[in-house]
Assembly symmetry: C2
Homo-oligomer: 188 residues x 2
DNA sequence: GTCTATACCAGGATAGAC
DNA sequence: GTCTATCCTGGTATAGAC
């Protein structure tokens, strides 16, 4: 199979990062799980941050795809729903990784380093699109709040255990739409 | 004045934690700012986590007050608005500290240690109250999403710079209410 | 190309002198 | 109440075995 050492490292790292947090997970711990030494990891990844980055990257790429596609679409009701749904699907599809963003925000931002500006830009475009054309301040706040609603899917809260993805999808989508529509001007 | 060394330490620590994140801030850095050594800090606080905890504690206490007061009130429309408003006021009043929760989640959870269960309980009660009596799964998801909306006030997003507290208060309050009312059964 | 051994430095923590 | 000295752990760098 193609799955080599690097994939194995990423897999173990993701599991430990997700469980104990990035900073609380040592390279020694990861190495031991794989039956190798700390230094061996350095052959495959130049740093702990680079390892984290390799795990995070696919999520950022997905996120960018969603933002890119959104930009090409007119801002009308069905499209707003569609875009929000795509955001939600990314979050749910990469749940353990996305959860690290909310859990280890500081570490993740450090790790993505140069990509940080890219991510801000992606979110900025997404928010701008969701806020609609010539948005008021309130529209911009609502756009951010709407994406925040979707973040509830990441389920750090014990009130969310045992809730199915389908329930989350349906309820959060409508909730996010409700936030945006508070504007009254209901997307044109 | 009463403001002794301990307050000075907390003040400097909060500033650095807020700016560089908890893990990226070293005790040496804090000590140097205050013209003392690392070890001196240990006379005042038994650990870095304890220092963080002392900063976080007031916020948790406020949060608990809000949850306690909510429990005593009937779940009707004006009260839901009132409770959400109180939550928002806590967030805005302790903004730099509250922002650390979202930014350094993992570190904060570690730090509050024994208080972690208390905090979960507080949030559980708040969510339960917001979800209303005999809630459906959807109601429970909406309750979590509504509190998530309020978190948008913490403004990690560059789209939120330069937005006034008053604008945030008004827009986010209505947005959170819109999420809850998606239930159709509009609080009885 | 893959890994081990080893050393280095920074950061949190502790003991004991002043 | 503050300092010096010390310890341990963790991320990092490099030399070299296979």
């Amino acid at each position: 199979m193609v799955s080599d050492t690097r994939s194995a490292i990423r897999e173990v790292a993701l599991e430990l990062f997700a469980r104990h947090g990035y900073e609380k997970t040592s390279l020694r711990e990861i190495a031991e799980r794989l039956g190798m030494t700390k230094a061996a990891l350095y052959y495959h990844y130049p740093s702990k941050q680079a390892l984290l980055l390799s795990i995070i990257e696919p999520l950022i790429a997905e996120w960018k795809t969603v933002a890119d596609k959104a930009s090409t679409r007119p801002h009308d009701r069905p499209n707003v729903r569609l875009v929000l749904r795509e955001c939600l699907d990314v979050l749910l599809g990469y749940r353990p990784i996305a959860a690290m963003f909310t859990r280890d925000g500081a570490a993740v931002l450090q790790a993505i380093g140069p990509l940080y500006e890219d991510l801000l830009e992606i979110m900025r475009r997404l928010h701008a699109w969701l806020a609609g054309p010539s948005p008021t301040t309130a529209d911009r706040i609502r756009a951010v709040a709407a994406t925040e609603v979707l973040g509830a899917a990441l389920g750090w809260s014990p009130d969310m255990v045992g809730v199915s993805d389908d329930d989350l999808r349906e309820v959060l989508l409508d909730a996010a739409l409700a936030v945006l529509r508070q504007g009254g001007r209901s997307a044109r």
